[in-house]
Structure formats: structure tokens, C-alpha cells
Symmetry: D2
Subunit: 353 residues, 4 copies
């Protein structure tokens, strides 16, 4: 990766017009070791990026290319901020040209092709690349990610649930009953993306709270498969997502049952020890609860560990769904892969109020 020491790396973004795309841009235009070379959008090709996203005026001087014209093979790394199915169709060509691929969609999140095809209703285009790819949850998989060519950037809900549970499942010890995990998760509306759907209209979603996907959500198999990798055991997870009338932010309330033999453990300390070297994971002091605004616009995920009684441990997790839950985490992966300091370009202080 020494090339990164000599020059800025060239970055391509496929599908730069959605919310994860513009968030990648917000972060990358200020990243000191990066040059944005290509941004593609079929629909907006020829349009200046800052025409569509005026917050980027004076920060970027680039037009959207059509997917055909944008020469992605000359990039060092390409981010896919696209619907599911796009990255896998282009990954083979890119890695053949030595280009790293970071997919913000789901093409490389589920190692089991059958599970992928069941939930995403499309055949997987490159199972052999999937097999070589890694799941980009840096705090869990750091060592595996160092030399990888293709990263499946985690889903937003999975990021909160996996980092919220990891200290309880990893290493040799499993502290909780794997059959009794409930994740009650809440997301801001930007999680639904910029698609034109009636339910995402302001007049439909403001001043309102609702559950959705109760009978099944694609992030369920993603969470379960990673928890099973972590623990080496079968997991039974109940997962109910909800929508909150706020633009950004995700909050997960995770209910676990402590196994009888671990009821004397200081779980606050378990979490603090596990994450003490992680810049982006903040274990709150005991008795302090996270809120989503304290992470708004930042790559930080805040966790609070709550011992309700002898048996019950409730983990609260807050993140910005577009940053640690998507674009920020993708840049964190890029930093890691190219040997940069992991935090570079990601030191934003959350905007509060």
C-alpha cells in the first residue's frame, strides 16, 4: 500500500445521488489523502454534483458521469452507493484491475449465497468473489480486512446490534442466553433512502411513529449470521425495526438474559475493556444513556450497559445511520485498507443541538 504514501488515492463512487452517496461526498471532499476522481449516476449524468447537492458548493468541482463513461478502473478504490445487485456485477472487472471495492449495499454481506438469494430475490453474480470478501465491521474484523479486495459494508441496524452484543459473545466466553436476544431498533427516515415512496413523505412520516418489517427484515439474517460467526453457536434473535420522525439517527434497545453463572460479572467493565482502544466506539459511563443527537454527523457509536436486575442486561446503542451506519464506516474501511490512520477524515464532532 505504499502508493498511498506518495500521492492521494483516487476514489470512484458509483451511484452518488442517494443519501449514502452524498454522505460519502461530504466526508471525502475533506479527506486529506483522497482525490475524488469519478462519480457516476445514470439519471444525473452531466449535472454538476453541487447543483444537486448545494451543501457541496465550493467543495467539489465534478460532474456526474454516466456509468458507461466513468472510468472506474483507474481508481484505487470504488464505493458502491447503489441498490443491491450493482456492485456484484462490476466487482470482478474492478478487482482484476487492482481496484478495491467497498459495497455499501448488501451484495457482500451474507456469506451464504442461498440466504442472500432468498432475501434479496436475485441470483448472486459472483459467489467466488463473495467467498473472498470480508464483512466490513472494523471493530470486529480488523485483521481480516487489512488485505482484502472486496468489502461488504455492514447494514445500519446490524452495526448497532453487533457492536452492542460483541463483548457478550466473543472470545471464549458467552455471557448471555443465545435463545433470548431481542433487538428493538429505531431508525430515522433517511434510512429509507431517497426513493420516492409514499411512506417517506414528510406529511406521512412526521409527527408519527410506527413499526415495519415485523414479519421479516433483510437485516435479520445479516445480524444472525454475524452473531453466529462471533459465537460459533446457533442464535435466536427477535428483531423489530421502527421509524422515528427524525432525519438521521438510529437507536437500538437490546434485551439479553445473563447466564446464571455470570451474574456476578461487571458488564460495564467488560464493555469498557473490549472497546478501550476503539476511537469510534464510546462506552458511556454507568448511568449515562446515549441519544442520537450526540452522534449526529459523526462516526461515533455510543453504547450504554444497563443491568436491570440479576438476570437482565439491556444494551442501548446510538449511531448516525448515514455515518457509522453507512458512509463513515465505509471510509473507515478504506482508511484501514490503505494503511491510513483509521480516524483520518472522520474526526467530526457531532452537531448538537
Amino acid at each position: 500500500m505504499n502508493k498511498s504514501l506518495l500521492r492521494k488515492i483516487k476514489v470512484g463512487i458509483v451511484g452518488g445521488t442517494g443519501y449514502t452517496g452524498v454522505e460519502l461526498l461530504r466526508i471525502l471532499v475533506r479527506h486529506p489523502l483522497v482525490e475524488i476522481s469519478v462519480i457516476t449516476s445514470r439519471k444525473e449524468s452531466g449535472i454538476a454534483v453541487d447543483q444537486l447537492y448545494p451543501n457541496l458548493r465550493k467543495h467539489i468541482n465534478l460532474k456526474f458521469s454516466s456509468p458507461e463513461d466513468g472510468d472506474l478502473t483507474k481508481c484505487d478504490v470504488v464505493f458502491f452507493a447503489t441498490p443491491h445487485g450493482v456492485a456484484m456485477s462490476q466487482a470482478y472487472n474492478l478487482i482484476n484491475h487492482g481496484v478495491k471495492v467497498i459495497d455499501l449495499a448488501a451484495d457482500f454481506r451474507l456469506k451464504n449465497v442461498d440466504v442472500f438469494e432468498e432475501w434479496y430475490k436475485i441470483p448472486h453474480a459472483c459467489p467466488e468473489i463473495l467467498a473472498m470478501s470480508e464483512y466490513g465491521l472494523v471493530e470486529i474484523n480488523r485483521s481480516k480486512l487489512l488485505n482484502v479486495n472486496v468489502v461488504g459494508n455492514p447494514g445500519c441496524y446490524p452495526t448497532t446490534v453487533l457492536l452492542g452484543l460483541a463483548p457478550l459473545l466473543q472470545s471464549e466466553q458467552i455471557f448471555i442466553d443465545l435463545n433470548r436476544i431481542i433487538a428493538d431498533c429505531k431508525s430515522g427516515i433517511s434510512g429509507a433512502g431517497k426513493k420516492l415512496e409514499s411512506s417517506s413523505l414528510f406529511a406521512e412520516s412526521a409527527d408519527n411513529f410506527r413499526a415495519y418489517g415485523v414479519s421479516g427484515h433483510r437485516h435479520h439474517p445479516e445480524i444472525v449470521s454475524q452473531l453466529e460467526i462471533m459465537s460459533g453457536k446457533k442464535i435466536n434473535l427477535i428483531f423489530v425495526p421502527h421509524l422515528v420522525p427524525m432525519i438521521r439517527g438510529m437507536f437500538s434497545t437490546i434485551y439479553t438474559k445473563i447466564l446464571p453463572k455470570y451474574r456476578d460479572i461487571d458488564f460495564q467493565k467488560i464493555f469498557e475493556d473490549r472497546y478501550k482502544d476503539e476511537y469510534f466506539v464510546d462506552v458511556m459511563p454507568s448511568g449515562n444513556f446515549p441519544d442520537t443527537r450526540s452522534v449526529r454527523g459523526s462516526n461515533t457509536i455510543r453504547i450504554s450497559v444497563n443491568r436491570i436486575n440479576d438476570e437482565d442486561l439491556v444494551i442501548l446503542v446510538a449511531q448516525d445511520n448515514l455515518v457509522k451506519g453507512a458512509a463513515g464506516q465505509a471510509v473507515q474501511n478504506m482508511n484501514l485498507i490503505f494503511g491510513f490512520s483509521e480516524v483520518i477524515g472522520l474526526e467530526h464532532v457531532a452537531i448538537l443541538p
Copy 2:
């Protein structure tokens, strides 16, 4: 109109799935003198109304009909909660069957066909019916509306600006400089309707404020033409609409210059006298300002009269854009036409907080 004394009137609604449609339903299902007979929607035909709008569960037991099947000619009155152009294509047939027509779109708002066609980009289908129709601003046109067959229900912005200015322009006296009227208007997002447009998404419009239509908005000619009818004079109006991140509500700040000879007038009294018999127009006591929440869900429009200095009079007007600015005003017209008490079915107290 004696038929209304003997039985409930039969109401039809064309286009019941948009926001003015569901608001008509919210009001009419509780109106004691009305029976909703037909609701049409091409897209939702066959679907139960309360499936689309669960707030109506237990209040209505009707399905959307296709426009072809719904037998509107058997109704006493039909409301058009449709895009511009629909009502005028059906008005002739309906009034031939003795059915009253109340159009919540713009087909019968502009008496001048040329102006209509310039702003709405469609030919007017029935200029002769337009000529017989009346502009349904009850507080201004009550006597003309009593025996009318077709009502053009006013636009939301025009309702606020016209009722805010009427006391200054009517009768023999014109108190203000007709060349110096500025209406700075602000609307909640529901004013944009339920159309799928990117700018109406929660993540685009929440926590945001912006102007739009600065170079021209269809309500401008509507306001001007009505002001000119009121005053019998040429009017010069600057009108800038804005969008506020709230679901409902409309607020207009109207800047006027008092003519020199009227600078000793007590304008608070002028307004109070003008509206003392109007149930739905509330002139606030001097020094009290309206806010949109105090009219949320009600048919009330609140007005405050502010003498800034010798020359300047600033009128503040607040209404619920979906009620007094649309469906409530339409029902008020219906009540008037059928000889009911004007307030029946419209006595809702605004929801606060």
C-alpha cells in the same frame, strides 16, 4: 333546498385519496346531515377507504369506486379533490342532473379563461359553466353563493391573503396603497399534496426552510383577480411562498402601506367590525399574534392587525391549509348552498398541543 330538511344529502367525492380528499372524509363522516355515497379513485378502486386511511376505521364502511362506476349523478353534491382539469370535464353532466359541484382544484377559480390557460397550461373545457360559477370564499361572496351550481373553492394561500386584506379594500373605502402590497406566505408540507416528489420527502423537507415559486406561482393571479374584484382597481402584489417543516398550517405576513388620509383610523376596529358575525374568522385582540397550531384541525382563520408605525400596517393570518384552506371551506360552501347552518360539522376545536 327543502329536500335537505327531509333527509341527509348524498355526497360524492371524486379523488378521495389525496390529502384534501381524506380531510373531506374526516369532516363529512361526522357531519350529521350528510351521507357519503360515492368515493372514486382510479388507483385504489375496490379498496376499502379505511384500509388506506386507518384513522377512518369504524367511521366509514365504503370502498373506492373506479371513476367509471361511481354513480355521481345520483348525488346531491360532488366534491372534486382532484388535480386541475378533472372537475371541468364532468361539471356539465353533473349540473344537468341537478348535482351541485364543488371543485377543490383551480378549474373554477379564475374567471378569465386566458389567465387560466396561461397558468394551468390546459384549455378550459367549459367556459360557459365557469361564467356561471362562483368563487367560494364565503365570507366575501356569501350572497352570490346561495344559489350557485358550481363553486370554485379558493386556493389555500388566496384564502389567507384575501381574508387578511378584505377589510382594507371593500366597501367604498380603500385604505391602503394598492401598489405596495407584499404577501410573504408560509405553508406546511401537506400543501404540496401526496404526490411523490423528492422535495416532499421527510429527509428533504424536515429541519429545513426554503422559498419556492419566487418567479411565479399559480395563486398569484388568483389573489390578484379577487383583490381587483373587491376593490374595483388594478392591484400590484408581490407574493413569495415558502415551505415550513410542519405537516399542516399556513401563515401569511402581509405588508401594506396606509394611505395618508387614513392614518388616524383604528384598523383593529375596522377588522373586528368587518368580521364580527363570522364564526370562522377570529380577529385576535390587539397585541396577540396567531400561530398555526391554534387552528390545527379546525376551520378557523385567525387574523392579527399590527400598526407598526404611521404608515405601515402588517396583517398576520393563520389557518390550517387543509381545513379553512381546502376541505373545511368546501364543506362550509356545501352548508351554505344546502341551507344548513354554516358551522354544522365544522365546530372542531383545534388540537393544541
Copy 3:
């Protein structure tokens, strides 16, 4: 109760300036069988009610009395929309004068005085009246409430959790594991009342989501005690409340484990049967989820029954915290006690959008 047939009943409200107070007013000013006689407020005494709450202009013509002056003993019923501790200090005198008392605070919610004193940190002023009072959850306790003098109107969270669980616990059958009930509850900000607290400021709570009271909330013993009365058994409940950036609305996601012997039961039918005669409880059709906006401003509570798998049943419950969760339920109790139709004055259609 025949007096109610002859004349409107006289209603007093103590503490009419908070959110439950103004909501009582919104409902009662339109209630056809009620006359509001007295509203007290120490802080606002002498001020016209509609000066403080302009939504009530033209609907009420009354001033706030000081608590000393307002003659509550001449009322038929007095609502306490006050902080905890006020109703119990006045209940004795009122019921001695034949006045019914409906307390919207917690003074008569917990039958066990010790539990009350532990959670509310004040001695109970009238244990003997507490013993005679009833918990005003009409759908559960209707028959007991008919002849009662003092009603403890349920808390907002308890209303959702109790009505969400009642069909699973009542009668001879207990369908679920009483040691594994989790209620993840979410409330709009009005639930915190009109108190001046930093955390209730717009700039602190908008665009934000957070948990609170994780280590203990006063509604926990209220829910548990009522569940134990219903089931006749010991209950283990985990309850975590959260705050949602919306004004009104409450949503509870309740996780239960079906007992092995009942895994063939059709729980949708259990709920529909239990509530088929309840006007205010709406069991949604299978596959439909409630949202808070579909109950905004109405006394309806919507419930959806979700069988996630063999073992897990997730109940979703939505209500308006100020109506069914407070003032509406209080009026429902009043209707019941005075022999009125239970729904009179409470037929509001929810405001949507």
C-alpha cells in the same frame, strides 16, 4: 344517576393549564351533556382560559379561578389534572359533598400504599379512600367503575401495555410466560408535560431519540400491579420507555413468549373476540400495523397481534397519550359513571395527515 337525564352535569377541573388540562377542555367544551363550571389554576387565576389557549377562543367563556375560590363542591364531578399529591388532599371533602373525583395523576393508581410511597416519595393522604377507589381502565374494570366515587385514571404507558396484554392473561387462561414480558415503549414529548425542563426544549428533543428511566419508572409498578390483579400471578416485566420527537403519540412494542401448550392458538382471534364490543379498542387486521398518527387526537387505541414464530408473539399498541392515555380516558370514565353512552363526546376522527 338520574340527575344526568334532567340537566347537563357540572364539571370542575383542577389544574387546567397543563397538557392534560387543556385536552380535557378540548373534549369537554364539545361534550353535549356537560357544563364546565370551574377551572382552577393558582398561577393563572383571573386569566381567561382562551387567553392561555387560543384554540379555545369562541368555545369557552371562563376564567381560571384560584384553587381557594373555585367552588368545586357544587360540581357533579371534578377532574384533577394536577401533579401527584393534589387529588388525594381534596378527595375526602369532595366525595363528602357527593362529588365524583377523577384523578389524572397517580394518587389512586396503586392500591398498595407502601408501593405508592416508595415510588412517589410522599405519604398517601387518604388510604381509606384509595381502598374504595377504582383503577379507571374501563375495558378491564367496567363493572367495578359503575358506582365508584373516586377513579384513578390510568397512566399513559400502562394503558397501552395493559390493553395490549389483557387478552393473554385474563379469564381462566394465561397464554404466555409471565416471566418473559418485555415492553419497549415510546412516547411523544408532550408526555413530559408542560414543565420547564431543559430536556423538553425543542432544540434538545427534536431530531433526537433516546431512552430514559431505564433503571426504574413509576409506571412499572402500576403496570405490574394491574397485570398481577388480572392474572392472579406474579409477573416479571422489563419496561424501557423512550422519547420520540413528536408532540403526541405513544407506541408500545410488547414481546411475549407463548406457553408451549398454546402454540396452536389463533391469537388474532383471541384479541378480536376480547375487544369486539369495545368502541375504543381497534384490533387491526392481521398484517396491518398501527401508527401513532392514525390515532392522533382520538380516543382510539390500535393493537396489532404478530406471531413471529412458534414461540414469539409481538403485540404493537398505538394511542394518543393525551387522549386515550389521559384526558379521553378520563372522560370515558365520566361517561360510564354518569350513565351516558361511553362514546359521547369522544367520537373524534384522528387527524391524518
Copy 4:
């Protein structure tokens, strides 16, 4: 100012707990040439800053000092993020110790002591320092600010109106009628600060729009006095502020009348020329309108110039009230005074969505 070349400057903040205080912190903790030495707060003294503002966790390791203990005289610059009246009581001592003072309140905004005392109802403590101070609107007063000891940082509304009008009033030419300027201004709720006032509660201000200060607002004399300095003429300004249910953001719609002799002028070009070298002022391309979200969290102010007709020019201005309208502008002043690049530490991209 060469000391700044050798070491980071030491910064003190008085009153670090309000919204302008925490926003100063958000900016300054990432400013590469600054070391935050002291933060005072009477109320929170002894508390860790990141305990009160968890968004600053890992970014700052400092406690609030009591005003008596914090040694401000050792700082290079002290920001006052305090109520009006505090800075003027301490300015003399600080500048005697060679400390620069930047006041974010109004103590040094109005050069005329009588006007100050009329509007702020307190005597001015140091008229002689006021006389030496400068109004910190960098884009207008840059040269005067270079060697100043005390800066009156502009109010939020004045910043928008002054930068929106400056190109029309400066130099030898006055393009507009000085008797016909109307500023209709809209602010997010954070503009009211963190004070505990009923009207700032979420349940009072969400989903609501209202005007306030119609009969007079302290920013009116500030705007007028600066416009009169710019133009050398008497100004007649109508200014009506409003509150928008969003946390941050300010939007001003400014109505002007073009003088007859200038009706052939290309005002778009006038604005572009005036601001072509200003990093923080963005003149939007013709036909593009600003919105507040496109400046959220950034120090940019966006302006659009709209020729409505021959006579009428409408200027739209958007900024983040806490950044360019307060803390960001204060840091811009600091950068200028200490000879830093004006943009350093202020290059944030606005958060969108």
C-alpha cells in the same frame, strides 16, 4: 500578532453552556491553531464539559470553572457566550492584560449608547471601550477589524439582512429606495437559546409557525444602524421575525424597490462581483434558491438575487444561525485578528440531509 506563528493561541470562553457556547466548542476543539484553556460557567462549575455535552466526548478534557476561578487574563482571546451585559463588565480588565475580547452578545453591537440602553434596559458599563470596538461583520468591516481589541459579534438576523443588502448600498451607489425595505425573517428555535421558556418547549413549538416581536425586536436598531453606516443615509426598515419548527437555520426574505434609474442593472452580477472573494458568502446561480439545510452546521451564507419585475428585487438569504449567525462568525473574527487564514477551522461541509 506574530506570537500566533510560534504557538497555538489560548482561548477562553465565558458562559460555555448555552448553544453559542457549545457551538464555539464544536468548532474550536478541531481548530488546529487553538488551545482551549478556560471555560467558565457559574452553574456547571466543576462539571466536565463532555458530561454536559456528550457530543464532545473524546474531543475535550476540561471542566467548567466558576467565573471567579477561571484565569481569563492569561488567554490570548476570550469569547463571551453570555447574556447581554457580561462582556462589558469584564472587557476593561481583559484588554488591559492584552487579551482580545469577542462578545457574542449585544454589548458592542450598537455604537450609540442611548440606543443600546433603550433597547437593552441596562446602562452601558464602558462607553469608551464601545467607541474603540468594531462590529464584527468581516465581509463588510474586514480592514477595521484587523487591529481591534474588542469585537461586537453581529446578531443572527442582522448578519443575513446586512449581507443581503450590502451590495445594494455600498460604494458610491445606492440602488434601492431606502424607505421601502422589508425584511421578513425566519429563525429556527435554537435562536431562542437554552433558556427555560414555555414557548421553547417542543410541544409548544413543533409543528407550529408564528411571528413574534412584531412591535419591536432588538435586532431592528442593530440592522438599521449598520445600514445607515453603510449607506450614509437614513433608513426605513420593516422587520418581522418568525419562528420555524427546526433546530437550526435562518432564512430572510428581503423586499426592495429598485430606484428608477437603476432598472437596467444586472443585479445578479452586482452581487457576484461584490462577494467573489468571500469564501463564506455564496451567491447562488440565477434561478437557484437557498435552503437552510444546505448551510446546516457550516459557516456559509447563501444568497439568491431575484428580479421579480421592473421595480422589485427580492433577496433570499440562508445561514445557520448558530454558525455564521453566531459562533462561526466569532471564530472568523478570531482568525482575522490573529492573522490566520480566515477559513481555518471553518471549512465544514453542511450536513445534508
